[in-house]
């Protein structure tokens, strides 16, 4: 059943009185209503949240004030463990979708939140996740306006899956795309790469390595707005999530039919992440990020874009890491710290730690 934020008067919210989710909470009756009220409406509730319509209603004129095109995206979040240093599945579910909107030049406005819950999950844990979604939504300047809950039998899902769908509006005049990179363009990132991937691997606890690495999970709409103000000619932006920096660079090189060369010495990676990766035989260029974007700008706007990034709290370690080149279309190379050149290809499957 759906829960929706609309303009209706306040009503009293139901409460859940048992400690854990059971199949009854997915049954469509009072138990389900209580769960939705107690956990989700309670956390997401702005004044407009209350009655459970089947859809959120958003005025078109309010949208049109922000720009001239609607941006619409969806993403599902499954992560093990659900809570990790620097965030949890809730922060991830909001940041991921907000960032997917923002990298297209959109101002993120509304989110939906659909959850699939495995029976047996603690209600208090769900409250915690809902609260962290709510707090992240506030930070990102978006409202969670509609949603859905399902409860499935033990074993049918891994504790909690969340899907968020987002709507934003693209500012007039902004035109960003993976096919727009041109030889000579500069490539920038907004900070240290690989933190999220390393934090998740470390938090899984199935290795004896201890690390203090935290996820970089953050909503990037503010940083992106600052970049677009400083560098209106920005060609391309993408958040370097699954597959990391290497994957994004390959995507843009292929779509724009250009070559890309980055410089290993200029590519910012935390010492701990480097060491962590080397011990496990992983490559940090492929580690996931949740608060990092790759930005391609014309060379004459590179300094302005970099300055805008460095001036924003989420871009303090920003760097110009390379350039778009003529040459082998679709090929990404890296000048290594040692002075050699290597190819940075797409990952075939999942990165698997090497034996020795």
């Amino acid at each position: 059943m759906n829960f929706v934020a609309t303009m209706k008067p306040k009503r009293r919210l139901g409460r859940v009185s048992v400690p854990k989710v059971t199949l009854a909470h997915g049954g469509g009756g009072k138990a389900m209503k209580d769960l939705i009220d107690d956990v989700f409406i309670e956390a997401f509730g702005n004044d407009t949240l209350a009655p459970l319509e089947d859809q959120a209603r958003i005025g078109l004129d309010a949208l049109a004030r922000h720009g001239d095109r609607l941006a619409f995206t969806t993403d599902s979040f499954v992560v093990d463990p659900l809570v990790f240093p620097g965030g949890d599945i809730g922060t991830l579910a909001v940041c991921g979708t907000v960032n997917d909107l923002a990298v297209g030049g959109a101002i993120p406005l509304y989110l939906s939140c659909a959850v699939i819950i495995e029976e047996g999950v603690e209600i208090e844990f769900l409250r915690r996740i809902a609260r962290s979604m709510a707090a992240t939504a506030v930070a990102a300047g978006v409202q969670i306006v509609t949603g859905d809950t399902k409860v499935v039998q033990k074993g049918a899902c891994d504790k909690l899956f969340i899907t968020t769908t987002g709507i934003g509006v693209i500012r007039t005049g902004i035109d960003i795309g993976a096919d727009k990179a041109r030889p000579g363009d500069a490539i920038l990132v907004n900070g240290l790469l690989g933190d999220h991937g390393a934090a998740i691997l470390g938090a899984r606890g199935d290795m004896v390595l201890e690390s203090s690495i935290e996820s970089d999970c953050a909503p990037l709409h503010g940083l992106i707005a600052a970049i677009l103000d400083a560098a209106p000619g920005t060609r391309f932006m993408r958040d370097a999530t699954r597959g990391g920096l290497a994957t994004v660079l390959n995507e843009v090189a292929a779509a724009s039919q250009v070559a890309i060369e980055i410089d290993e010495t200029a590519t910012p990676i935390r010492l701990e992440v480097k060491a962590f990766s080397e011990i496990l035989g992983l490559d940090p260029l492929y580690l996931a990020n949740e608060g990092k974007i790759v930005v391609v700008v014309p060379q004459d706007e590179a300094n302005a874009a970099l300055a805008a990034m460095l001036g924003h709290p989420l871009g303090r370690a920003a760097a110009l890491i390379g350039h778009v080149k003529d040459g082998d279309a679709g090929r990404v190379t890296m000048r290594t710290v040692f002075g050699g050149v290597r190819i940075v290809d797409m990952l075939v499957g999942e990165q698997l730690p090497r034996i020795c």
Binding site: L209, F338, R342, I343, D345, G349, R354, I355, C356
Partner: protein, 376 residues
């Protein structure tokens, strides 16, 4: 000194490459053909590609990527055996990460896992033993794989299991030894290698003495090399110096890690737990005498091969696959008939396309910069 960044210094690299070029001018055969140097160990292959070393070296040096990637050389029949163990309902099958993708005749461990086998990635055999303690009702099997580098840790885990009386732990032993393998390469009729970079971490265990026959009998230089890019450059320089002097010696560039006598405690654990197999099958190289080890009878209770009935079927390498010739340096990866067409990292046909340490996968993934122009 952190023993890391110091060995990745590009200014020192430039100096060393100059020295290598200077040395090459004085070597006569280098004027007729490239000097072929084989790095035996997959870890070296990985570093060479990771840092782009091939492109930095003068063209008179040809690096041949040897048989030292234990994941790559595992034959299909053994992978089938390990899948048959992994698919038993009572088994938790534990393995190092990159062994999961190695294709058997029908599937890989990754596929078996997707089909419901309880396959778990571990970082050490001790993690597998911990799982056995945690799940006394299940049989935990560790996929023992690797050369002398990983052999001692498996042995010590078995000794620990024995001490603690853990009965639900066993090892599917596929450990292999380096010396007979190098000998097989040296004995192959199309052998054409001028010198070797010896495996650093294997040597940390076995020391440098076992390589003596390579210098004395086969008259080839071998330099035990570290894994940082400067280590590799310096080792190449050391091999070239021997070639120039007409010497064949066993030298140790990696002395900060490798004691000449090896690691006595590790060797003791190894000889206590394992004995040599009469022969072991290698993907791409065929059967090599005394190249594998198995658990001694006294540790039979920890031997998954004896605990579970395994099919033990020998499966021939695909006919079109030329891994053996690549391993011996007879052809380069991209000269193989199926390289990049029937054989890719997504669907590897041959062993060398499997692990990122395999020469073909490394070329496919990182390499190719000069190859693109068709240097053969």
């Amino acid at each position: 000194m952190k023993y890391v960044d110091e060995f990745r210094d590009r200014d020192k690299a430039r100096v060393l490459i100059k020295e290598i070029e200077r040395l090459l001018v004085t070597i006569d055969i280098a004027k007729q053909r490239p000097i072929a140097i084989m790095e035996v160990c997959g870890g070296h292959t990985h570093s060479i590609f990771r840092y782009g070393l091939e492109g930095m070296l003068p063209k008179e040096i040809e690096l041949v990527h040897g048989p030292g990637c234990p994941v790559c050389v595992l034959p299909m029949g053994r992978v089938d055996d390990c899948i048959s163990i992994a698919e038993r309902p009572e088994v938790i099958f534990t393995t190092f990460g990159d062994a999961m993708r190695v294709p058997g005749s029908k599937k890989s461990l990754l596929t078996a896992k997707a089909e419901g086998a309880d396959v778990r990635m571990v970082y050490s055999p001790m993690d597998a033993l911990a799982l056995a303690r945690k799940h006394p009702d299940r049989d935990v099997v560790f996929f023992g794989i690797g050369f002398e580098t990983t052999m001692p840790s498996t042995a010590l885990t078995i000794l620990q299991a024995e001490r603690d009386g853990i009965a639900n732990f066993s090892v599917f032993c596929n450990h292999i030894t380096i010396i007979p393998t190098i000998k097989a390469v040296l004995d192959s009729p199309d052998f054409q290698i001028d010198g070797f970079l010896g495996p650093g971490h294997v040597s940390m265990v076995i020391g440098t003495e076992p390589y003596g026959f390579i210098a004395s009998y086969y008259r080839r230089p071998l330099v035990v090399a570290g894994f940082e890019p400067l280590d590799i450059l310096q080792s190449i320089w050391m091999v070239l110096r021997q070639v120039k002097d007409g010497r064949a010696d066993i030298e140790n560039q990696y002395a900060r890690i490798v004691p000449e006598a090896g690691n006595a405690a590790a060797l003791a654990a190894v000889s206590r737990v394992y004995e040599l197999r009469e022969f072991f099958e290698w993907r791409g190289l065929g059967s090599i005498d005394h190249s594998g080890v198995k658990l001694r009878d006294s540790y039979a209770q920890f031997d998954a091969e004896r605990k579970f009935a395994i099919p033990g079927v020998k499966i021939a390498d695909p006919k079109s696959c030329q891994c053996g010739e690549v391993l011996k340096g007879v052809i380069k990866p991209w000269q193989c008939k199926v390289f990049g067409s029937a054989c890719t990292p997504e669907v590897p046909l041959g062993a060398l396309m499997v692990s990122p340490e395999g020469a073909c996968a490394a070329y496919y993934q990182y390499g190719g910069i000069k190859r693109h122009v068709g240097v053969a």
